[in-house]
């Protein structure tokens, strides 16, 4: 999957020009450094994880602003979501009419993007309405996983 394919479900047509370093996409401008095999350079955009991409926290905020469909969740929904849970209809306090099948970004009440998921049921449903695909808590889970591997 490349960046254009990754952004398409969000309704975003333009992708930044980025290059792959160490299985991640970066907007890297320091050519002198790039020739010496760095592991991080410039602005981190996304990471290649198997067949999919996961966005950096900074790029996620850009996606949050540009995405076609979004919902805003309350504080409890926010906490559950960043812990890796799906979104229930009752946690949604604001939205712009996403429909089942849409890729939706999840915002908190400060309008910060917490992640995204796919709509699986109508908003008035009492069950899970957005199946989580990615949330910012992934950052910590990634770190813990690395520690575990090391042990």
């Amino acid at each position: 999957m490349n960046l254009i394919e990754f952004l398409k479900p969000f309704g975003i047509k333009q992708a930044p020009e980025a290059q792959i370093i160490n299985r991640s996409y970066y907007i890297a401008t320091n050519k002198q450094m790039l020739s010496k095999n760095p592991i991080y350079s410039g602005e981190c955009i996304a990471h290649i994880r198997g067949p999919v991409l996961i966005p950096s926290t900074t790029f996620l905020q850009q996606i949050g602003k540009a995405a076609r469909r979004h919902v805003t969740v309350n504080a409890k929904g926010e906490w559950l979501f960043i812990c890796g849970r799906d979104v229930f209809g009752k946690a949604i306090v604001e939205h712009n009419n996403p429909i089942v099948g849409d890729r939706v970004v999840i915002l908190n009440e400060h309008k910060e993007c917490l992640g995204y998921g796919d709509m699986t049921a109508t908003l008035d449903s009492k069950r899970v309405v957005i199946k989580r695909l990615f949330d910012i808590g992934d950052l910590l889970r990634r770190e813990r996983k690395t520690r575990k591997v090391r042990v």
Binding site: L34, E43, C44, T58, I82, T146
Partner: protein
């Protein structure tokens, strides 16, 4: 053992004019002004029930008291702050990098000081960050990403490889790997021996030599450790000014004691008093030296 254990270190510190503190310093954080401001962040955290108090001797630091971990909430995950001990925020402030500088961070992981360098440089200029230990690089990369750092290039290599970049750096931060101190690790007194400290000191001297060779003439090198052992602090600096083309400059901070100039009866260069030594419990144990290349 006569070269380890709490009693051994208690006597050692007493001879240096310090003592073992019973209390720990309050935990602290640094507001990441690359992504937010204290004006925005502090009320948000206070609304969550976190008690904050400005650290008077840092630019962006706050002591905090919280009933829950501040390491996993939204504001942390979005990089609005970095959990960083008060004294650990000082080496970068002493180095004082500018947005036009080319800076080397010698032992970068987990990235607290690298992200602080980027913050102080307003994400401009250039930072080259080196980290040798593979198990520490994921946390470095995650913190750079989380804090929105864009002016840094990181390498998984020993800093001795920095010469391949062909750069003479304006400023270098050498926050050296060290034996640590009893406040940073459970059971520290039982785990460390005088031999460990000596080995650590040898590595630090090699790193100092490397850092001095990568610095441009007139450039600034800040050396810091979170160790209270003079073998890793004042004695290394004495060795540096005797063997490397550097001279000491005053560490201008309103906190901390002057560097020791008499260690176990050995008289050191009086300029070492320009360094700063931090005895707990006001902060954790710490040492900072500032050098300029001749």
């Amino acid at each position: 053992m006569d070269n380890a254990g709490k009693e051994f270190f208690r006597k050692k510190y007493l001879e240096l004019g310090g003592q073992i503190a019973d209390t720990k310093p309050s935990p602290s954080l640094r507001v990441n002004t690359l992504l937010t401001s204290a004006k925005e962040l502090i009320p948000r955290l206070e609304k969550l029930g976190v008690k904050l108090e400005r650290i008077p001797f840092t630019k962006n630091g706050y002591y905090y008291q919280s009933k829950f971990s501040l390491g996993a909430i939204t504001e942390c995950l979005l990089g609005h702050y970095y959990l960083q001990e008060a004294a650990a925020q000082l080496p970068v402030e002493v180095l004082d990098p500018k947005p036009t500088d080319v800076v080397l961070d010698c032992c970068a992981a987990p990235g607290g000081k690298t992200t602080q360098l980027a913050q102080q440089m307003k994400n401009q200029g250039t930072i080259a960050a080196f980290e040798l230990k593979i198990h520490r690089t994921p946390s470095l990369l995650m913190n750079l990403e989380r804090c929105g750092v864009t002016n840094t290039t990181a390498f998984f290599e020993n800093v001795t490889e920095a010469k391949k970049l062909g750069i003479q750096f304006d400023k270098i931060l050498l926050d050296a790997p060290c034996a640590g101190n009893y406040l940073t690790e459970e059971g520290w007194f039982e785990k460390r021996t005088q031999e460990d400290i000596q080995k650590s000191s040898e590595i630090q001297r090699r790193l100092l030599t490397e850092a001095a060779s990568l610095l441009k003439i007139g450039g600034i090198l800040v050396y810091s450790t979170c160790s209270l052992e003079p073998e890793e602090d004042e004695l290394n600096i004495q060795w540096a000014i005797e063997n490397l083309p550097v001279k000491l400059e005053k560490v201008n901070l309103p906190i901390g004691d002057n560097g020791l100039t008499n260690v176990f009866g050995r008289k050191l260069n009086p300029d070492i008093a320009l360094c700063k030594r931090f005895w707990p419990p006001k902060t954790e144990g710490f040492f900072i030296a500032k050098m300029v290349k001749l």
